[in-house]
């Protein structure tokens, strides 16, 4: 077994998990909404990219670029029309509604696309790789990882260097006082979910080109996303990337020892981090 190779592959896989997690963490950080349909929304976006790519004969990257504004609009409307109504002192309604949404999306996709597993074709890129010394790195996993870093840099820029980002953080701190600044919380929340759906679309592009997917695989992606967010500590996007990498490396090491242990190793690593650092590795100071 080549340890270096295993770890590198794990880090790159962690990029995918960070992409799953960034949108989830974004929404939770701003409005304390746990979106149980997050994984299914990733799968929904993957089908949308597949549909655009196959119907219009586009490269998956162009198809994903077309899907980005559509998913933003979908997320905006979903939050504004549905999820905003569930927010309040009680934490149960958003959980119930997004759980229901998860079932609706899965069954809608089954109805529309059948239970067959699909893949977004990426042509020669699927098998392309680059050689770095003793380690061979797949081009798509590398692109996935670089995209994860790009997404996190972009989210940090938005959060800490724009009016919108200040409004996100102010609303998260104190919704009523944010209103006194002219911030309309319902629209801020809708924009946040729209943004999260753009991240979801990028995650879906790499999920769909990397391996087969089918309408029922959303909930497992949700778990990875959760684990990455929690390992990283709520409120830190770089922490989420670290969480994704820890999860990815654990899984590849587990799989290298025994292929049956891949998934289990990730969950065990998650539990170990929770035992040692219950608030995650990089928790936000104010919470």
């Amino acid at each position: 077994m080549n340890w270096l190779d295993t770890i590198v592959q794990g880090v790159l896989l962690g990029g995918l998990y960070a992409l799953f997690a960034a949108g989830l963490g974004l929404v939770f950080g701003i409005m304390r909404l746990v979106n149980l349909a997050h994984g299914d929304l990733i799968v929904l976006a993957a089908f949308l990219v597949l549909l655009l790519a196959s119907a219009l004969g586009l490269s998956p990257f162009v198809a994903a670029a077309l899907a980005l504004p559509a998913m933003f609009a979908f997320g905006w409307a979903l939050q504004f029309v549905v999820l905003n109504r569930t927010l309040g002192k009680d934490i149960l309604p958003p959980l119930l509604v997004t759980f229901g949404l998860s079932i609706v999306i899965q069954n809608g996709l089954l109805e529309g696309f059948s239970a067959d597993s699909r893949r977004i074709p990426a042509g020669a890129l699927e098998t392309a790789s680059l050689q770095f010394g003793p380690v061979s790195v797949g081009t798509m996993p590398l692109l996935t990882f670089l995209s994860a870093i790009g997404v996190i840099v972009a989210l940090n820029l938005i959060f800490y260097h724009t009016d919108l980002g200040r409004a996100f953080r102010a609303t998260s701190d104190d919704r009523a006082t944010a209103g006194l600044m002219g911030i309309r919380a319902d629209r801020i929340f809708a924009t946040a979910t729209g943004l999260a759906m753009m991240v979801v679309t990028i995650a879906a592009l790499y999920l769909g080109t990397r391996a087969n997917f089918d309408p029922t695989m959303g909930p497992a992606r949700l778990i990875y996303a959760f684990e990455a967010v929690i390992i990283g500590g709520l409120g830190s996007f770089w922490g989420t990337l670290a969480g994704g990498i820890i999860l990815g490396v654990s899984q590849t090491i587990g799989a290298a020892i025994n292929p049956e242990w891949q998934i289990l190793a990730g969950h065990v690593a998650f539990l170990l981090v929770l035992l040692a650092r219950p608030r995650g590795l990089f928790p936000r100071a104010v919470d």
Partner: protein
């Protein structure tokens, strides 16, 4: 037509009725003080005007237009800014970010980051600190600066001297002439009657949700204020 007017304003604080028909008017350029004991309805009055409490539209008029039913984000855009009781700074934001978020809904030329820093120079030194790391008086300056960033026509100040040392309160009120010169009319809610009389052109005294006394500071005697503040039977 007055700049701001309430007519028979009734409002609730939770399940309790806190205001029973309050008539108040604010003219352009004026500074009003609203005084009264704890529970007199002062804060409920302010929260009603700034849109944190919904009322029927016609009970609050801004330049003749009924605004009582509007929500806070719409009220700010009209030019009514609030310095909330307890300051309510955003702990995740630095001092400068707290100020910047103040012009999210509305901005103008008079009050910008630079002119706020001229008004309260100490804030410039602490611009990158978390807002909640500042002293109470400095936090109050941030809260006032944040409200001014929207270049309001009307500035509402809810209990800005609460919990501050007298010397700090004096520093903060020293900024008021400049705020007035910047074009804002002001309503202050104060428990400190001396401070209220010193800063205001006219005073309203509330007791149990009703206006019990109104007039210019020079026209009000100590006894009249005492009676209006605590109730006539105690004199």
């Amino acid at each position: 037509m007055s700049l701001l007017e309430t007519q028979g304003l009734t409002a609730f604080y939770g399940d309790f009725q806190a205001l029973f028909g309050v008539d108040l008017r604010l003219e352009e350029g004026e500074t009003l003080a609203v005084i009264g004991a704890n529970g007199a309805g002062k804060s409920t009055l302010m929260r009603s005007i700034c849109g944190l409490i919904a009322n029927s539209a016609d009970q609050i008029r801004f330049e003749g237009r009924g605004i009582g039913a509007l929500a806070a984000p719409d009220i700010v855009r009209l030019g009514i800014a609030m310095v909330p009781e307890g300051r309510k700074l955003f702990p995740s934001l630095s001092v400068e970010e707290n100020l910047l978020v103040g012009c999210y809904g509305r901005s103008g030329r008079v009050w910008t980051l630079d002119t706020i820093y001229d008004l309260f120079p100490v804030l410039k030194e602490r611009r990158d600190s978390p807002a909640t790391a500042l002293s109470g008086g400095q936090q109050q300056m941030v809260a006032i600066g944040r409200a001014l960033m929207s270049n309001p026509r009307i500035l509402l100040c809810d209990e800005i001297s609460l919990g501050l040392a007298p010397v700090v309160i004096r520093d903060i009120y020293a900024a008021f002439p400049k705020i007035r010169a910047g074009g804002a009319s002001i309503v202050v809610v104060e428990q400190d009657i001396g401070q209220a009389l010193a800063v205001a052109d006219r005073v309203y005294c509330l007791m149990e949700g009703r206006v019990t006394l109104t007039g210019t500071p020079s026209s009000l005697t100590r006894d009249a204020i005492h009676a209006a503040y605590f109730g006539a039977h105690t004199t």
